[in-house]
Symmetry: C2
Subunit: 351 residues, 2 copies
């Protein structure tokens, strides 16, 4: 079933795994990284899906990004809490291992946590969650990157920290609720897209290097650079700012590796936190509650009758189901990008 | 040192403890509740400080609020994870016990969590944190109240859930960073204050019952009632909305007691999560990082030169230090309110 740029997941999985393996990744690493990137693509996060394949492989070829499972070092382990040093191994492998470790703790004592320092780029946070919600677990991922500063403190001009996302998967009686939000108004990707398209940002969310709030992406891409406002914007940015500091503490802070170390290589600090509702009020009571809340929300009268209220993750899960049923559609640009990598590695191309 | 409405903490502590004990609280409960309310007052959270004393005692007198330590039931305990049923015992006692339980888990295995259902009103979340940061622990409190719905879903009109705050205490080499933010644009208290003062809200953060965004507090206090917009407002409310759902899941969801049960009595679901950095990169590396980040933030060029950038909790901790040095100043209204309760209980008044 590979009609006109539509591919079934098995075909794409085998193709992408081969690219990673031929580039030098261990089979296990290739398998896990492929699964996470493909899941991001299935959920419709196209900037954080398969278009990362070539970028990751480029990093491996330049030597910055590692792909050996044994390079991911477990620095400490209490059974419930652990710290990994990724040594810049492919991020989706590091984060998946951290989530597995946290889930083991959760299954044993109700909660588990694993912190990773120096993971390479970790992709789409929402892409990690469903295997855990499918097991009735609440899974969370937090992330920051101590080598990058682009978001300002509330009331301040200078760029300090990263958008610091929080993602969470919440089981219900049906599809899970999957949320993945940054503690900034917008992401760097959004500012870059508007700059490239020559359009204004939809809201005044960047600040010029002189402290003027603006919707012009060029006010961010200046020298010295501007900054992105924290979630909440001019009026309520103290909230997003405070939450971003919490994410820094839970990631780079616990990792013991952060801005103080002045890292000059892109590398995520990521924290996985998994909770098993069976140790509290029980899984059935939990999903009764999450499903009840979900129904209450979906029954909200919409402000715009054309746009019914949705739950976080609902749109992505619908895209995912369609792609699984009908095949995943790749843009011609992405297909060509993947095939170029395949040619370079002397592997067969996608049809 | 009780000059003109200034009182030392010892005097106030003894006075408030006596009010609670004479009203029927166990000595231990009176001690803990007094400490939390006084700490809220010291940090400048005057709507969630000592002005709650009379309200709490009123609740005890009407029988809705309980004050016996043994009524707080530990439903489950894995050593690391536990669930308490508060049976409407005074909330500051329930949350303090939950935090102690979570901190014990953190000291043993790096992280601990305790969920409480049916706590009575829990006051100011920031007031719980400093004893834990003083021990080098990261402490978090999440809260929701399944009997109240006032915040709308993003894109929806109807009020669904509570402002669902997240509070966290982060140790540094100096004063801790203390954050306490709701996942709504504003709190109900703010909307009520503007209504009472006859002023507009500073931003358009309420929605009329017909779906019109407004800065008129009366659009909230209508029949049927309006709603408060989630953190992020019209443009970025999907983020505050998603985070609010996460807080519901971590509190009422894990508690196994939430909106599905249709509780008709005010009662908090609260979750305490404590992490010990010693089990990860170490306490010194953690506070090196949090202090470094704090300095970076404080060195930000301010947008308004009259308003230097501050860290979350900094203003409150300054007020606290002043009050500890010079005595805590009570408004005449609060002093009279406390003295009225004292007279009613046939106890000596504050001078």
């Amino acid at each position: 079933m590979t009609q006109a740029n539509r591919y079934d997941v098995q075909t794409l999985t085998a193709f992408v795994e081969q690219l990673f393996e031929k580039s030098g990744a261990d089979a296990e690493v290739a398998r896990v990284v492929t699964r996470v990137l493909l899941e991001g693509e299935l959920l419709g996060h196209r900037t954080h899906g398969l278009n990362l394949v070539s970028r990751y492989i480029g990093g491996m070829q330049s030597g910055q990004v590692k792909a050996r499972a044994q390079m991911l070092e477990q620095v400490s382990d209490s059974g419930i809490s652990s710290l990994f040093d990724g040594h810049y191994v492919l991020g989706p492998y590091c984060v998946s291992r951290a989530l597995d470790s946290a889930a083991k703790g959760a299954s044993e004592q109700g909660i588990g946590i694993a912190v990773v320092r120096r993971a390479s780029h970790i992709g789409c946070l929402a892409a990690y969650l469903k295997p855990f919600t499918d097991r009735g677990l609440v899974a969370m991922v937090y992330s920051s990157d101590p080598s990058v500063g682009i978001v300002s403190a509330h009331g301040g001009i200078d760029p300090i920290y990263t958008p610091n996302p929080i993602a969470a998967g919440i089981p219900t009686q049906g599809e899970p609720i999957l949320l993945d939000v940054s503690m900034s108004t917008v992401t760097l990707a959004m500012v870059g897209q508007c700059r490239d398209a020559g359009t204004a940002l939809p809201h005044p969310v960047v600040m010029s290097n002189e402290g003027r709030v603006s919707n012009d992406p060029n006010d961010f891409f200046s020298t010295p650079s501007g900054s992105i406002l924290p979630l909440g914007g001019e009026a309520f940015g103290h909230k997003g700012f405070a939450l971003a500091i919490l994410v820094e503490a839970l990631t780079s802070g616990l990792a013991g590796h952060g801005r103080k170390d002045g890292p000059d290589q892109w590398g995520a600090s990521a924290t996985a936190l998994v909770i098993d509702p069976r140790f509290f009020g029980g899984l059935e009571a939990f999903t009764d509650e999450s499903s009840f809340l979900g129904k209450l929300i979906l029954a909200s009268r919409p402000i715009d009758p054309q746009r019914p209220v949705r739950l976080p993750g609902q749109a992505g899960l619908k895209l995912r189901a369609q792609a699984l049923a009908q095949g995943l559609s790749l843009t011609p640009k992405l297909r060509e990008d993947l095939n170029q990598t395949a040619r370079q590695l002397q592997l067969p191309e996608l049809p």
